[in-house]
Amino acid sequence: MEFDFKKLGFTLLGLLIVLNWGLLMSAIMRKINARVAKRYGIPWYQPWVDLVKNYAIRSQITHGIMFYLGPVFRFSGGVGLFLFMPMLITAGGQWTNYSFQGDLVLILYFQFFGMLGMALGAGEGGHPYSAIGISRGLSQFTAIEVPMTLAVISLAIQYQTLSIADIVKAQQGGIMNWTMWTNPVATIAAMLSLLGALAHAPFNLVRAPNEIPIGPPTEYHSTFLGVLQTNAAVLHVVEAALFMNLFFGGASNWFEFIVKTFLIYFWSVFVGTVFPRYRIEHSVSWFLKVPLVLGIIAIIIFM
C-alpha cells in the first residue's frame, strides 16, 4: 500500500481542530460552571495559557523511565483513539482518519492503552495517592464498561455491523433515524456510562481533588502535565465523538460535529454540577444496577 500523504494531512488537520476544540470546550464548560456559581469565570483562552505555561516550566524531575512513558502511553491512547475513529462522515471521506484499520472493538479496547500506561507511569512515581487513585479508577472503569458493552452489543445487533462508519451511515436521513430514537434504551445506558468515562462528579473519585490530591497525576508536572492536558483535550472530544457516531447520527461537517460533541460533553458537566461525589463502592454498585439493567433491556429488545 503506497503511502497516502493526503490522508495524513487531513488527519493532522483534524487532530489540530479536535485539540483546539477540546481546549475551547473545556474553557466553556468551566465558564458555565462558574456562571452557575455566579462567578465570572476564567477567560476563554485560559486552557491555552495553562498549556503554554506548563510546557514553559524550566525544571523537571523524573522518577524513572516508566514515569516518562506514562504520559506517552496516555497521549498515544488519546491520539490513537482519534486515529481509529471517523470524525466526519463526508462524501469525500477525508475525515475518517485511519478508521479503516479497525472497528468499534478496536476503539473500545484501545481506550485501555492510555489508561494502562498512565497507571504504570503514575505507579512509578511511587506516590501512594497515585496508586489509590488508579485502583479507584480501574475499579470504576470496569463497572462503566458493562453498560457500554451491552449498549455496543445492542447496536451491533441492531445494525448488524461493528464498523463505526457503517453505523453512522445507517443513521442518515433524518433525525428520527438516529440511534437515540431507534434504540433509546441503549442510548440511555451508554450515556450513563459516559458519565463515568468522563469522570466528572459524581464519578470523579479518581482524581478526588480534596481527598487524594488529584490522584494519579500527583507527581506529574511541567511538560508531563502539559502532555496529559493536551491528551485530555483530544480525548474528551474523541469520546464525545464516539457517542455522537454511535447514537446521534454522526456529523457531516465540522459545525455539526462541534454542536453535537458539545452537547454530549455538556451532559456530563451538567450532571457533574448538580451531584456530589460517590464513594467507589457506591459508584461501582450504581453502574451495576441501573445502567446494567438498561443495557440488558436494550439487548432483549433486539434479540
Partner: protein, 1040 residues
C-alpha cells in the same frame, strides 16, 4: 513336571521335622525353608512352562488310584500353575524377608510357613470339595499359628479373632459340603460342574459353600477380624495373608465359578462391589498404615470377587482383567506390607522416613500407582478392559460404582503418598536398611513394572510407545548427576521427539500440530529455565518428562486407550511436579483427586462409546449415536477438570502458586492446554449431534462465569503466583467459552486464546517465578519498586500484561476482536457481556501485579537484588519475540488457523484483503494497527523526550507527601488490598462457595467413614455375629 504330591511331601515332612528339631538347629531353619521354597518355585515353573508353550493340557491327579469321589483329586492347569507360581514366589521372598526372624525365633515358624504355603498350593490344585475344607482349616490353623509366633499381645487377640471367625466360616463350608454330597452324591468338583445343569443342586448347599469362600475373602462389612490381623500382626504376615491366602482363596472362588447361575453371580457382584466401595470408604479415615493396607487389600479383593461374578459378561477378556488386577494387587500389597516392616512406622504421616532411602520412596510410588491403576501398571489395563466390557445398558451403574470405589481408594492412597513425599522426617527414628528385606521389595517392584509392560503389549498389540518411558527410567538412574546435564538431556530428548513428530503432523493435522508445538516446543522453552537451578534437583526431570511424554501421547493417540494412557501419564507426571513445591501437600492432593475424578469420567465415557461401537478408535466418538448427552457431559467434565472450569477449579490456585518457579509455567501455560485439546477432540467428534448444542450452551455459561470469577478472584489476591493462577482459570474460561460456541469464529478465538495464553502466561509465570526466586517471597506487598533492579523482568511483565489484557496492538487483541464477532454471530449476548466484563476486570489484577511488584516503593531488604537469572530471561525473551511476531503479523497464524477450522466449520470464516481481516460484523488490520501505533508512540516519545530530557532523576522518597517526607517504604507502598472498595461492591461474586462445597463434601465423606468404621469394635464375638448376619442377609437376598 513334578507331581504335586512331592509338594505335599516336602511341605508336611519338613514342616513336622522343623517342629521337632531342637533349638541348636535354629540357625539353619531359614536356609532349609528357603531351599524348600526354591523347590516349590521350581515345581510351579516346571508346570508353567509346558503350559505356556501349550505342550500339555490340564492334568488330573488322583490319590491312591481311586477315582473321585473316593480319592483326593488334584488338577493342574495353566492358571493353577500361574497361581502356584505367584504364591510360591511370595513364599520364597517371604522367607528371605523373614530370614532373621525365622532364625532367631522358634524354629517352628519356618515350618509353619512352609506348611501354610503348601496348603495354599493345595487349595489351588484341589478339586475335591471336602478336601478343600481340610486345606482351608489347615490354612487357618497355620496362619493363626504364624500369628501366634509373632509374640505381641495385639497379635494374640487378632489371631484369636481370626480363629473364631474361621471356625465359623469353615463350619458353614462343611455343612455346605455335606449337603452337596447329600443331594448330589459326589464331592468331585468336576462332576459337580458337569452335572450342574442336569442334577438339581440344593441351592442352600451351594450357597453355604460359596458364602463360606466369600467370607474367607473378608467381605465388607463382615471382615473386622481380618482387619485386626492386618493391623496387629507383623506386616510380613500381612503380606502373606494379603498376597498368599487371599490369592489362593480367590482362585478357589474362581474354581467354583462354573457352578454359578445368574443368582449367584449377582451375589458375587453385590458382595464384591459392596466390599470394594465400603472398605475403601472406611479406609479414608484410617491413619494406621497396616490397617489401611488391610482396608485397601480387602477392597481390591472385593473388586476381584465382583469381577468373578461378572465372568459371563467379560467373555474372553475375563482372565486378562482378573489376572492384571490381581497381579497388581498381589505384588503391590506384598511390597507395601514389606515396606511397612522395613521402616517400622505405623502412622501414615510418618512414612516420610521413606525419603531417607529414595529407592524405597520410588518403590512406594510404584506400588501406590499400581494399586490405583495408573499407567503403565497392569491394573491400568485391567481396569480399562473391565470398564470397556461392562459399559453399556444398565451395567453403567456398576461402572459408576467401580469408579467411585477406585476414586475413594485414590483419595487415601494419594494422601499417603503425599505425606511420604512431603512431610518432615527429621525427628523420626532411623531404621535399618537390611538387604534381605530390600531385595524382595525391589523384585516385586520390578515385576510389577514388567507385568505392566507385558499387559500393555498384550492388549494394545504393541502400538504403545514405550521408548520415552524407558528414557524416563534411564533418567531416574542417572538422577545423581548435576541438574544441568539432566536438563540438557531432557531438552535434547524433547527436541528429538519434536523432530520426530512435528513435521509429519504439520502435513497431516494442523490442530494436533499446534498443540504439539505448545506442548513440546513450549516444554523445551520452559525447560531452559531449569539451568538456573543449581545442584542435583533430584526427581525433577523424570517426572517432568513423564508429563511431556503423556502430553505427546495424547497428541499422537489414535485410540481411546492410547489417549487415556497418555492422559494418566500426564496426570501422574504433573502431580509429582506440583507436589515438589514447598507447601504443596494439600494442593497436590486436591489436584490429583480432581484429575483422577476427571479421568474416571473420561474413562466411563470411553466405556459407553465402546459399548456402542465396539471400537476403541478415537474416531468412533463421532460414530456414537446413543447416550450422546451422557457421553458428551462426562467427557466435558473430565476435560474441564484439567482446564479448571468453575466448580472444578479449586485445585488450581494453590497448585500453581506453590509450585516451583519453572514448574508453574509448565503446569499453567502448557498442562492446562491438554484439557483444551481434549475439548477440541470432543467437539470435533461429537459437536455435530443436536444434543451437543444444548450442552454447548451450558458450557458457554460455565466458561463465561469461570472467566468472571477467575478474574475477580485474581484481583483480590496478594500472592503474585496465586494471582496468575486465578488468571489462568479465567483465561481457560474464555477458551471454554469460545469452544462451546462451536462456530468458526468461536473456535478461532479459542485457538487464538490457546496460543496466546501459552505465550503470555509462560512469560508471566516464568518472570514472576524468577522474581520470586530472587526476592524470596510470593507476597506482592512485600516487593515493590523492582523496576530499577530488574528492568529485564519489568519489560517482560509489561509486554505480558499488555498482551494478556487484549489491548491493541499486541496479540491478545486478536482474541478479543474475534470474540466480539463470534458472540454476535452466535447470539450469545449475555454470556458475551460477562466475558467482556471479566476481560476488563483483568486490568485490575494486571495493574496490581505490575505495580505492586515493579513500581511503587523499593523495600529496604530488596535494594541489592539483582535482575532475574539469564536462564529465565532467555526463554522469556524467546516467547516475547514470539508475541511480537504474531502481533505484528497476525495473519501469519490466523490464516492457517482459519483454514484448519474451515475443515470443521466452513461458515463465517474471515476474509482477508492483504493484512485486513473481515469478519461478518467487523474488520481489523493487525499489522496496520501495529504500525500506526508504533509510529505514533515513537513520535510522541521523542517529542516528550526532547522537551524534558534534562529532567533531574530523583529517588524514591522524593515525592510530594503533604509537605512531609515518607518514613518507611513499607508504609508508603500502597499495595495490600487496594481494591477494598471494589470488593465491598461486588466481592460477593467470588465468595468461596465452591471451595465450601467441596470441603463440606470432603468432611461429609470423612464423617461417614469415621462413623461407619465403628462397626469394627474389636470384639471377636461381634465379628462372628457379623459373619452370621452377613450370611443370613445374603441368603435372604438369594431366596428372593
Amino acid at each position: 513336571m513334578v507331581s504335586p504330591f512331592y509338594l505335599l511331601g516336602v511341605g508336611l515332612g519338613l514342616g513336622f521335622l522343623l517342629g521337632l528339631t531342637g533349638k541348636n538347629s535354629k540357625k539353619y531353619t531359614s536356609a532349609i525353608t528357603f531351599v524348600a521354597f526354591a523347590f516349590f518355585v521350581f515345581f510351579s515353573i516346571s508346570w508353567l512352562i509346558p503350559f505356556a508353550l501349550k505342550q500339555v493340557t490340564e492334568t488330573l491327579i488322583y490319590t491312591a488310584g481311586f477315582l473321585p469321589p473316593f480319592s483326593i483329586s488334584l488338577s493342574v492347569g495353566f492358571y493353577e500353575a500361574v497361581f502356584s507360581l505367584m504364591i510360591n514366589s511370595l513364599g520364597l521372598l517371604s522367607i528371605l524377608f523373614l530370614w532373621k526372624k525365622i532364625n532367631s525365633e522358634s524354629n517352628a515358624l519356618g515350618g509353619i510357613i512352609l506348611v501354610l504355603f503348601m496348603t495354599l498350593n493345595m487349595l489351588v490344585f484341589a478339586r475335591d470339595i471336602f478336601n478343600i475344607f481340610v486345606w482351608l482349616e489347615i490354612a487357618a490353623i497355620s496362619t493363626s499359628g504364624i500369628i501366634l509366633l509373632d509374640k505381641n499381645k495385639f497379635s494374640y487377640s487378632a489371631g484369636f479373632k481370626y480363629l473364631l471367625a474361621s471356625s465359623i466360616i469353615s463350619s458353614l463350608y462343611l455343612i455346605g459340603v455335606v449337603l452337596v454330597y447329600f443331594t448330589n452324591g459326589t464331592l468331585f468338583l468336576n462332576d459337580l460342574i458337569t452335572n450342574a445343569s442336569g442334577v438339581t443342586m440344593s441351592v442352600t448347599a451351594v450357597f453355604l459353600m460359596l458364602i463360606a469362600i466369600v467370607l474367607e475373602l473378608k467381605p465388607f462389612p463382615a471382615n473386622g477380624w481380618a482387619l485386626d490381623v492386618y493391623e496387629g500382626a507383623n506386616p510380613a504376615i500381612g503380606a502373606i495373608m494379603s498376597g498368599g491366602v487371599a490369592t489362593a482363596s480367590l482362585f478357589l472362588l474362581y474354581k467354583f465359578s462354573p457352578l454359578l447361575d445368574n443368582k449367584f453371580s449377582y451375589l458375587f457382584v453385590i458382595a464384591g462391589l459392596l466390599t470394594f466401595v465400603g472398605s475403601n470408604l472406611f479406609g479414608i479415615k484410617q491413619d494406621k498404615a497396616n490397617r489401611l493396607l488391610g482396608y485397601s487389600s480387602i477392597g481390591q479383593i472385593g473388586l476381584l470377587v465382583a469381577i468373578i461374578g461378572f465372568r459371563p459378561f467379560l467373555g474372553d477378556k475375563f482372565e486378562f482383567i482378573a489376572i492384571t488386577i490381581l497381579v497388581s494387587h498381589f505384588l503391590a500389597k506384598a511390597g507395601l506390607f514389606w515396606l511397612s516392616d522395613v521402616i517400622k512406622q505405623d502412622n501414615i504421616k510418618n512414612w516420610s522416613v521413606l525419603r531417607r532411602k529414595p529407592l524405597l520412596l520410588v518403590l512406594f510410588g510404584i506400588f501406590v500407582f499400581s494399586l490405583i491403576g495408573l499407567p503403565p501398571f497392569p491394573s491400568f489395563f485391567g481396569k480399562w478392559e473391565l470398564i470397556m466390557m461392562l459399559s453399556g445398558g444398565y451395567k453403567f451403574a456398576v461402572v459408576t460404582i467401580i469408579l467411585v470405589g477406585s476414586f475413594i481408594e485414590a483419595i487415601y492412597l494419594f494422601r499417603w503418598l503425599g505425606y511420604a513425599i512431603k512431610l518432615d522426617f527429621s525427628e523420626l527414628p532411623e531404621y535399618k536398611f537390611e538387604l534381605n528385606k530390600i531385595i524382595p521389595v525391589v523384585i516385586f517392584g520390578a515385576l510389577v513394572l514388567g507385568a505392566g509392560y507385558y499387559a500393555g503389549n498384550l492388549i494394545c498389540l504393541k502400538t504403545l510407545n514405550y521408548i520415552p518411558l524407558a528414557f524416563i527410567v534411564l533418567l531416574y538412574f542417572i538422577d545423581s548427576l548435576p541438574a544441568y546435564i539432566k536438563n540438557t538431556l531432557s531438552i535434547l530428548a524433547l527436541g528429538y521427539y519434536s523432530y520426530l513428530i512435528l513435521p509429519n503432523l504439520y502435513e497431516t493435522d494442523m490442530l494436533r500440530f499446534i498443540f504439539a508445538v505448545i506442548f513440546l516446543i513450549g516444554g523445551i522453552i520452559t525447560l531452559v529455565a531449569g539451568y538456573a537451578y543449581k545442584g542435583k534437583r533430584q526427581g525433577f526431570y523424570p517426572v517432568a518428562l513423564l508429563m511431556y511424554v503423556g502430553l505427546a501421547l495424547i497428541i499422537q493417540a489414535q485410540t481411546t486407550l492410547e489417549f487415556f494412557f497418555g492422559w494418566e501419564l500426564m496426570t501422574a507426571g504433573s502431580y509429582f511436579l506440583i507436589i515438589r513445591g514447598k507447601k504443596s501437600i494439600e494442593h497436590g492432593l486436591s489436584y490429583i483427586l480432581f484429575s483422577i475424578g476427571g479421568a474416571y469420567a473420561i474413562l466411563a465415557a470411553f466405556g459407553l462409546i465402546y459399548a456402542e461401537t465396539s471400537d476403541i478408535l478415537l474416531s468412533s466418538l463421532s460414530v456414537a449415536t446413543q447416550n450422546i448427552t451422557l457421553i458428551f457431559s462426562l467427557l466435558a467434565i473430565g476435560f474441564m477438570t484439567k482446564t479448571a472450569s468453575l466448580g472444578l477449579h479449586i485445585w488450581l490456585p494453590g497448585a500453581h502458586a506453590e509450585a516451583e518457579s519453572d514448574v508453574s509455567p509448565m503446569v499453567s501455560a502448557i498442562l492446562l492446554k491438554a484439557g483444551v485439546f481434549g475439548l477440541f477432540i470432543l467437539m470435533i467428534a461429537m459437536g455435530h449431534n443436536p444434543e451437543a448444542e444444548q450442552i454447548g450452551l451450558i458450557l458457554g455459561w460455565i466458561g463465561a462465569l469461570t472467566a468472571l470469577v477467575g478474574n475477580l478472584a485474581a484481583a483480590f489476591q496478594e500472592d503474585a503466583k496465586r494471582l496468575l493462577a486465578y488468571s489462568s482459570i479465567s483465561q481457560l474460561g474464555y477458551i471454554l467459552f469460545g469452544l462451546a460456541m462451536m462456530t468458526h469464529l468461536g473456535w478461532m478465538s479459542a485457538m487464538v486464546y490457546s496460543i496466546n495464553h501459552f505465550l503470555y502466561k509462560s512469560i508471566l509465570f516464568l518472570t514472576i517465578g524468577a522474581v520470586v526466586l530472587k526476592v524470596g517471597t510470593h507476597d506482592m506487598y512485600k516487593m515493590g519498586g523492582l523496576i530499577k533492579n530488574m528492568p529485564l523482568a519489568f519489560i517482560a511483565v509489561l509486554i505480558g500484561i499488555i498482551a494478556l489484557s487484549g489491548v491493541p496492538p499486541l496479540s491478545g487483541f486478536a482474541g478479543k476482536w474475534l470474540f466480539y464477532n463470534a458472540i454476535i454471530d452466535k447470539h450469545w449476548y449475555f454470556q458475551g457481556a460477562i466475558v467482556f466484563f471479566s476481560g476488563i476486570v483483568a486490568f485490575l489484577y494486571l495493574f496490581k501485579l505490575i505495580y505492586s511488584v515493579f513500581l511503587g516503593q523499593l523495600k529496604d531488604n530488596l535494594r541489592k537484588v539483582k535482575d532475574i537469572s539469564v536462564w529465565f530471561a532467555i526463554p522469556i525473551y524467546i516467547l516475547i519475540i514470539g508475541i511480537m511476531i504474531i502481533s505484528a503479523k497476525p495473519e501469519l497464524y490466523l490464516k492457517p488457523l482459519g483454514t484448519m477450522i474451515s475443515g470443521f466449520y466452513p461458515n463465517g470464516e474471515l476474509s482477508w484483503t492483504g493484512g485486513l481481516a473481515n469478519a461478518p460484523y467487523g474488520y481489523w488490520n493487525g499489522s496496520g494497527v501495529m504500525i500506526t501505533i508504533g509510529i505514533m508512540f515513537s513520535l510522541l516519545f521523542l517529542w516528550l523526550w526532547s522537551l524534558s530530557r534534562k529532567a533531574q532523576k530523583v529517588k524514591q522518597f522524593n515525592i510530594v507527601y503533604a509537605a512531609e517526607a515518607p518514613q518507611r517504604p513499607e508504609t508508603t507502598h500502597i499495595s495490600y488490598n487496594i481494591y477494598a472498595g471494589y470488593y465491598k461492591s461486588i466481592g460477593w461474586i467470588v465468595a468461596p462457595i465452591f471451595e465450601k462445597f467441596w470441603s463440606t463434601m470432603t468432611e461429609w465423606i470423612h464423617s461417614v467413614s469415621d462413623f461407619g468404621r465403628r462397626i469394627y469394635n474389636g470384639n471377636g464375638q461381634y465379628y462372628m455375629t457379623h459373619i452370621l448376619i452377613y450370611m443370613l442377609a445374603f441368603y435372604f437376598i438369594l431366596m428372593h
